[in-house]
C-alpha cells in the first residue's frame, strides 16, 4: 500500500526505444507529494517521452513506473483510473475546438466521473476565475489567445481534481508576453501544494519554483539536484555546456 511519505511517482530504470533508437536509457527518479520537479535538457533528449510515460500515453520496454504505488504499465491496470489522478497539459493546448471554454472544462468530470452537472459547472467557473479568465466562459478556443487557451487547458485538467499535474513544454508555443501569465498560474498551483512535473525551457521559472531539477541528455539523467546547485554550480560538463547556451 502506498502512503504519502513514499514517492508519489517512482521510476526505476525506465527504458524505451522507438525501433532501434533508444529514447530512454534507464531513467530513475522519485518524486514526493507536493514537490515541483522540472526536467530540463536539450531537444531530443527524451524529456517529453519521459513525462508521457507517467500517465501511460507512451509505453515503456523495461523498468517500472509507479504512481501512488500503482504500476502504470501493468497490463491489467485500467489506465482510465490512473489518468483520473494524473492531469496533463500539452504544448499545443489541445482544447476541443467545438466546445466553449466552460464546456471544455465541464466535459470530463460530467462524462467520465459522472458528477452532477451543476456541481461541476460551479467548480469550472471557480477554476476559470482562478486562472484569471472570468468572462471567457462562452468563448471558443479559436477566439482565445495562446496563453488564454493554455490556461483553459490547465483548468480543464484541474477540474478532474488530479493528485499530480504533468506539464509538457506548456509555454513553448506561446508568445513571450503570454508566457508569464501561464507561468504565474502554474506557480500558484505549486504554492497550493499540487505535485507538478514540468518539462520546460523556462530556466528562470525552474530556478525560482522547482524543488528539484533534472538535467537529461540522450535518454539519461545527467545531473539532478536543487536548482541552486544545478544552475550556479553544475558538475557535469554537459550540464555546463547546456546552461551556458541557454542562460
Amino acid at each position: 500500500m502506498w502512503s504519502p511519505n513514499q514517492p508519489i511517482v517512482a521510476m526505476k530504470n525506465v527504458m524505451k526505444s522507438y525501433g532501434d533508437f533508444d529514447v530512454l536509457k534507464g531513467i530513475s527518479m522519485d518524486i514526493m507529494k507536493g514537490e515541483v520537479v522540472c526536467i530540463i535538457g536539450p531537444s531530443g533528449s527524451g524529456k517529453s517521452t519521459l513525462i508521457r510515460c507517467i500517465n501511460g500515453l507512451n509505453d515503456i520496454q523495461k523498468g517500472s513506473i509507479t504512481v501512488e504505488g500503482q504500476e502504470v504499465h501493468d497490463p491489467k491496470l485500467d489506465k482510465r483510473l490512473l489518468r483520473r489522478k494524473v492531469g496533463m497539459v500539452f504544448q499545443q493546448y489541445n482544447l476541443f475546438p467545438h466546445k466553449t471554454a466552460l464546456q471544455n472544462i465541464i466535459m470530463a468530470p460530467v462524462k467520465v466521473l459522472k458528477e452532477p452537472r451543476a456541481d461541476v459547472e460551479a467548480r469550472a467557473r471557480a477554476l476559470l476565475k482562478k486562472v484569471r479568465l472570468e468572462g471567457k466562459e462562452n468563448s471558443y478556443p479559436g477566439e482565445l489567445s495562446g496563453g488564454q487557451q493554455q490556461r483553459v487547458a490547465i483548468a480543464r485538467s484541474l477540474a478532474m481534481r488530479p493528485d499530480i499535474m504533468l506539464f509538457d513544454e506548456v509555454t513553448a508555443a506561446l508568445d513571450p508576453e503570454t508566457v508569464k501569465e501561464v507561468l504565474v498560474t502554474i506557480k500558484e498551483l505549486a504554492a497550493d501544494g499540487m505535485t507538478c512535473i514540468l518539462v520546460t525551457h523556462e530556466m528562470g521559472f525552474a530556478k525560482e519554483v522547482a524543488d528539484k531539477v533534472y538535467f537529461t541528455d540522450r535518454g539519461l539523467i545527467v545531473e539532478e539536484g536543487h536548482p541552486s546547485e544545478i544552475f550556479s554550480n553544475p558538475k557535469d560538463p554537459r550540464t555546463k555546456a547546456f546552461l551556458s547556451q541557454v542562460l
Partner: protein
C-alpha cells in the same frame, strides 16, 4: 557511436541531436467529389443550348411527327413525374438512409483496434466498393426471399425494397471510407487530450472526434447521394416500376413510334438533371466552405 555514423553515411540519419521536423503528412484524402464536381461545372447556358439543340434536331427529323410526339409526352408527363420520378427519389432517399447507417457502422470497423474486425470491415468495404452495382442488385434480388416471416407474421419483400437494399450496399461501403477519412483527419493530439482526461475510446469518438469532423463528411456524402440517385434507373432491370420502366411502358402504349424516343428519354434526362444539378452546386459550395475549417 560507430553505428550512428554508418547509418548517417547511408544518407539516412536514424538519430540526431537536433530538433527533427517530421515529414508533413497531408490529411487522408477524402473521397473525391467526382460526379458533383463534374456536374457543377456545367453552366446554365450550356443546358439552355442543349435545350435548343434538342428540338432542332427533332425538327430535322420531320416537324409534324415531333409535334405529335411532344403532345404525347405532354399527356404522359404528369404520370411519369408523379409515379415514376418521385418513386426514384423515394428509392434514393431510403437507400441513402440505409446506406448511411450501414456505412457508419462499417466505417467504425475500419478504425477498430481489434484487427479481425478491421480485417472483416476492410474486406467488406473493398468488395462492395468494387462490385458492379447491377450485379449487387441481382444478387440481392435472387438471394432474398419474396417474403419474410418475422415473429409469425409474413412481411412481403417486394422488388423495390430489395432494390433499396441492393443499392445501399455500395453506398455503405463508400460512406465507410468517408467516415474513416474524416475521423483520421482530426489531429491525433485530440485523442491524446481526451485520453489524458480519462475518456474511453467510444466516448472520445462520439463526443470529441465525430462532432469535429461531421461537417467534412457532408460534401462527399452528398456526392454519393447524387451518384445513387442517378443509379436508381438500374432498378428498372429488376422490374421495379420506376421512371424508366414506366416510360418504356408509356411508349409501348403509344405504339412504340421511334420519334417518341428522343422526347421521352430526354424528359428523363431533364428531370434527373434538374434534381441533381442543385445538389451538385450546393455540394461544391459546401466543400469550399468547409475545406479549411476544422
Amino acid at each position: 557511436m560507430a553505428s550512428d555514423i554508418d547509418k548517417r553515411g547511408q544518407g539516412y540519419p536514424r538519430r540526431s541531436d537536433m530538433a527533427v521536423l517530421l515529414p508533413l503528412r497531408p490529411a487522408p484524402q477524402m473521397d473525391s467529389l467526382s460526379l458533383t464536381t463534374w456536374l457543377a461545372k456545367i453552366r446554365w447556358w450550356q443546358v439552355m443550348l442543349l435545350m435548343l439543340v434538342w428540338p432542332l434536331h427533332a425538327f430535322a427529323q420531320g416537324a409534324v411527327t415531333v409535334d405529335s410526339a411532344v403532345a404525347v409526352l405532354y399527356k404522359w408527363a404528369p404520370f411519369l413525374l408523379l409515379h415514376g420520378f418521385l418513386f426514384n427519389v423515394l428509392i434514393s432517399i431510403l437507400s441513402m438512409a440505409l446506406g448511411t447507417g450501414l456505412g457508419v457502422l462499417l466505417g467504425l470497423t475500419l478504425i477498430s483496434k481489434w484487427s479481425p474486425l478491421r480485417f472483416l470491415g476492410n474486406t467488406g468495404t473493398a468488395f462492395f466498393r468494387n462490385a458492379p452495382w447491377l450485379v449487387l442488385l441481382f444478387v440481392v434480388l435472387l438471394a432474398f426471399p419474396f417474403e419474410l416471416t418475422i415473429f409469425g407474421t409474413r412481411v412481403p419483400l417486394p422488388g423495390w425494397i430489395k432494390a433499396v437494399i441492393g443499392l445501399s450496399l455500395p453506398v455503405a461501403a463508400n460512406i465507410a471510407i468517408i467516415v474513416r477519412g474524416a475521423i483520421q483527419s482530426v489531429p491525433s493530439a485530440q485523442w491524446e487530450a481526451a485520453e489524458s482526461l480519462s475518456f474511453s475510446r467510444m466516448q472520445t469518438l462520439w463526443q470529441i472526434i465525430i462532432p469535429q469532423c461531421i461537417k467534412r463528411m457532408i460534401p462527399p456524402w452528398m456526392n454519393w447521394y447524387a451518384i445513387l440517385t442517378m443509379a436508381t434507373p438500374l432498378c428498372s432491370i429488376l422490374g421495379t416500376e420506376e421512371m424508366v420502366t414506366l416510360t418504356r411502358q408509356a411508349m409501348e402504349a403509344e405504339g412504340n413510334k421511334p420519334e417518341l424516343l428522343m422526347p421521352f428519354y430526354g424528359f428523363i434526362l431533364v428531370l434527373f438533371f434538374l434534381y441533381c444539378y442543385p445538389i451538385a452546386k450546393l455540394t461544391v459550395r459546401l466543400e469550399r466552405k468547409f475545406a479549411f475549417k476544422l
